[in-house]
């Protein structure tokens, strides 16, 4: 498509047009175009122009861009895969259409199966636990997709040991079409429970690599998956743990009329801790259930802000009791601090636990479950949260109990720790309530 001789544009604008346009627009610049501009415009412009013109309005893309679908599964030492690759793209690279008539027959394709398998597997690297696997084609098929026909390449690879981590490095077509995407789906089959879970990833020139974790028994059933999600959430969602920690800090101490005293009995400390944890658990399980089944719905901003506020409140209670503890003498009979917190340690965790439950529900909702199949995942998720919590408590309590007499604990960990947590939670509260983002944590 050369620039047409008769397409040389006239210089300037006919007087009439210019007049009207000038009324519509600003005054036109004075100097005329240089010959060089004109030459460049002709060289580039007239070729590109028709397509560049009103392109943005053109939303009419034919089918999706080049896409290949790779499904991988692992069973013990064997990795098997199925790769569906558009025949149009393969033909571009390998010239499959022997007679070049635009119609690819099975015979033409079959004659080139060795090249096809070699080419595709050359553009895929699978590393099992750090070792690059050697892949071999087991079968060639074809498949009709909505977007056109695909060659189906089935392959296998054997690892020396049962595969734990599978790393995929994908390079197909990226060198010729950066818009190509490899859609990888990793299917995890559990031989024990017969269940199946899948994870997926989109691979592009910018992200050509993905790793999947296989785990011990090649798979995990969904229940275990949700238990893990619950544990994961309680450990990475610092706010719930911090709330619990703030409540637990004074649990090995006793508020008496003249300040903090170490709790003499481990059993009583343990009971208090159990009361706190149980109250928190009962409360958040209640609201998690209500929210998960959609009986109650609260705006996430409100929930998240209140969660931050609950930590602030709990920390303030600690400091309040602490200050009261060192300032008041035994002679001062006035109970300035809520002594009832000694007798009813479950009250604060229960009330605020209700709000934390809505926070968990938000996470569960993001995992995308249908309401009809919510029972087991909900139970699993909740169990995971409790297990995560218990692990933290089990780690915390013995140390706290041993250290409870020390000045470090009574004048360091309790007040300083509570203050730091208070400041952090106050920051979260401001961030969440006013939709800002300034904290690094």
């Amino acid at each position: 498509m050369k620039p047409l001789a008769n397409a040389v544009p006239q210089r300037g604008i006919p007087p009439g047009t210019a007049g009207v346009l000038a009324r519509l627009f600003l005054p036109a610049p004075r100097s005329g175009p240089t010959t060089r501009d004109r030459a460049r415009f002709l060289a580039l412009g007239w070729i590109a122009l028709p397509c560049l013109l009103w392109f943005g309005t053109l939303n009419l893309q034919a089918h999706t861009a080049s896409t290949a679908w790779l499904t991988l599964s692992v069973s013990n030492q064997t990795v098997s895969g199925q790769w569906e690759i558009p025949l149009r793209d393969l033909d571009e690279v390998l010239g499959l259409d022997a007679n070049d008539d635009g119609q690819l027959t099975w015979g033409e394709l079959r004659a080139r199966h060795t090249d096809l398998g070699g080419y595709s597997l050359d553009h895929l690297t699978l590393d099992a636990d750090g070792r690059t696997l050697s892949l071999h084609v087991t079968e060639h098929r074809i498949r009709q997709r909505s977007d056109g026909s695909c060659a189906v390449v089935r392959f296998k690879a054997d690892a020396p040991e049962p595969v734990q981590d599978l790393r995929i490095h994908y390079r197909l077509f990226f060198d010729r079409d950066p818009l190509h995407r490899g859609l990888v789906r990793f299917v995890n089959r559990s031989t024990a429970s017969g269940s199946e879970s899948a994870s997926a990833s989109v691979l592009s020139p910018d992200h050509p690599t993905v790793a999947f974790h296989v785990g011990k028994d090649t798979a995990e059933n969904p229940f275990a998956l949700f238990v893990r999600e619950g544990m994961h959430h309680i450990w990475t969602g610092y706010d719930h743990l911090l709330f619990l920690l703030v409540l637990l800090l004074p649990s090995v101490l006793l508020r008496t009329g003249d300040g903090w005293r170490p709790e003499p009995s481990f059993r009583r400390a343990l009971t208090r801790v159990l009361q706190i944890v149980t109250a928190f658990t009962v409360a958040h399980s209640l609201t998690l259930g209500l929210a998960a089944f959609d009986f109650v719905r609260l705006p996430s901003r409100l929930v998240e802000s209140t969660i931050a506020a609950s930590i602030v409140f709990a920390a303030v209670t600690n400091l309040w009791r602490f200050r009261a503890g060192i300032r008041e003498s035994a002679l001062d009979p006035r109970p300035l601090q809520p002594l009832f917190l000694n007798e009813r340690p479950w009250l604060v965790p229960f009330v605020f636990g209700l709000v934390h439950g809505f926070g968990f529900a938000g996470v569960l909702a993001e995992l995308g479950l249908s309401r009809s199949a919510l029972g087991w995942p909900l139970l699993g998720f909740n169990l995971g949260v409790e297990l995560g919590q218990l692990a933290c408590v089990a780690g915390f309590l013995p140390f706290a109990f041993l250290l409870r007499r020390s000045r470090f604990y009574r004048f360091g960990a309790l007040p300083v720790g509570s203050t730091l947590i208070l400041l952090l939670a106050a920051g979260w509260f401001i961030e969440r309530a006013f939709d800002l983002s300034f904290l690094p944590l």
């Binding site: 501009d37 943005g56 053109l58 009419l60 034919a62 679908w69 025949l87 149009r88 996430s300």
Partner: protein, 400 residues
């Protein structure tokens, strides 16, 4: 690490939704498992397993293939690379196959990641990015090109287009001014008249375009088609359907398979309640999603069975979503509104689309979705926008 806030931050929320959708789309794809799928081994060698092209290659396609082969041997040949990329973009315009854009990007690969590549590459990169709906990056490229050469007609023209698509008529108008000096009369007039036609001067815009078309009989066909398209769309918005139809037909006589024209004319016919004619117009083309969707719409309006078409389109949109493409938002919203009849998801898509582009078609879609879903705020937002820009469109009127 921040504690995961479930949902209320503006940007992560969108990304979160896209992620969830992508995940659901991929996991939900039918038969992707190794064991259960509908792949097969054909029985006979003579069975045609794929139609790679509808017909034999055109001369232009063969030329592009030869040139790409040349370029592969000499990848840093700038004039050759820009020539190949331009031709591929032209090819994309004809075929609407996004592969062409990928190949064009590959042709420009040695310069693609440079912050300031040669000006020709900048302009082409802007065009490719625009086609992938990465409008901010495309505008940045054009501005960089115009710093290198403030008298680059193509850069101004593309910039005017981009701003128009995004509904930024002030900057679009300013980008048209240099065109009066830098290009031919018909190009400059069409660019300027298009913006004027969207900002309260539609009648005058039509007069200008008609006069310019009369006068510039020798202008290149592509420019004439473009001018006629704008004319047809502007008259359609004014409700002058007969005139609009005449212009669409004239344009189609010059460019019979132009997908954009076909789509626009089909829309007019659908609006005029002539779905059979729309179906007949589109019938031959099965390749382009936007046209297929209009075909299904025409079939449905005419009372024909269209379920198979709809299912097929749904699969295609799911494929695009699985890739993470967001190029089809307008089509997808319209598909959800008119064919799937899912007003809630249609409204969500139309709103998302409205964040990216603001042409009259986008405004109309959002208004229709908002009205079906009874979302007064969105409807008021569109109508406010229409009033602010003085956009004249019979489909964008407040209800009495």
């Amino acid at each position: 690490m921040k504690p995961p806030l479930s949902a209320h931050r503006p940007c992560p929320r969108c990304r979160g939704w896209v992620f969830v959708c992508v995940l659901v789309a991929i996991l939900g794809l039918p038969g992707s498992g190794v064991a259960s799928d509908d792949s097969k081994v054909p029985d006979r060698d003579s069975e045609v397993v794929a139609t790679l092209r509808p017909s034999s290659r055109t001369a232009a396609e063969r030329e592009i293939l030869t040139m790409r082969a040349q370029l592969a041997k000499d990848p840093v040949n700038l004039p050759l690379a820009t020539d190949v990329a331009s031709r591929l973009i032209v090819q994309f315009r004809i075929e609407s196959d996004p592969r062409c854009l990928g190949f064009a990007q590959t042709a420009l690969a040695p310069w693609w990641t440079n912050p300031v590549p040669p000006i020709e590459v900048l302009v082409l990169r802007a065009t490719i990015r625009q086609s992938l709906h990465d409008f901010p990056a495309a505008l940045a490229d054009l501005d960089a090109a115009l710093v290198l050469n403030p008298r680059h007609p193509q850069a101004w023209l593309t910039k005017a287009t981009l701003h128009t698509v995004r509904g930024e008529y002030g900057p679009a108008r300013r980008a048209c001014v240099p065109l009066l000096q830098l290009t031919d009369a018909l190009t400059a007039t069409t660019a300027a008249a298009t913006v004027a036609g969207l900002t309260g001067d539609a009648a005058r815009s039509v007069e200008l375009l008609e006069a310019a078309l009369q006068r510039e009989m020798d202008a290149p066909v592509a420019i004439r088609v473009w001018a006629l398209t704008q004319l047809a769309e502007t008259t359609a918005r004014l409700g002058r359907s007969a005139e609009s139809e005449r212009h669409f037909r004239t344009a189609l006589s010059l460019a019979p398979r132009d997908p954009y024209l076909l789509g626009g004319y089909a829309d007019l016919l659908l609006d005029l309640g002539r779905p059979d004619e729309a179906a007949a117009l589109l019938g031959a083309d099965r390749k382009i999603d936007g046209l297929r969707m209009r075909f299904a719409e025409a079939r449905q309006s005419a009372g024909h069975e269209s379920q198979a078409e709809i299912q097929d389109l749904e699969g295609r949109f799911a494929d695009a979503l699985a890739r993470g493409d967001r190029v089809h938002l307008r089509e997808e919203a319209r598909f959800h509104l008119r064919l799937l009849r899912r007003p809630a998801s249609a409204l969500r898509l139309a709103r998302e689309n409205w964040e990216v582009q603001k042409e009259p078609a986008d405004a109309r879609l959002l208004l229709e979705c908002a009205r079906v879903s009874n979302d007064r705020a969105s409807a008021a937002q569109v109508l406010g926008w229409v009033a602010t820009n003085r956009l004249e469109d019979i489909h964008l009127q407040a209800r009495p």
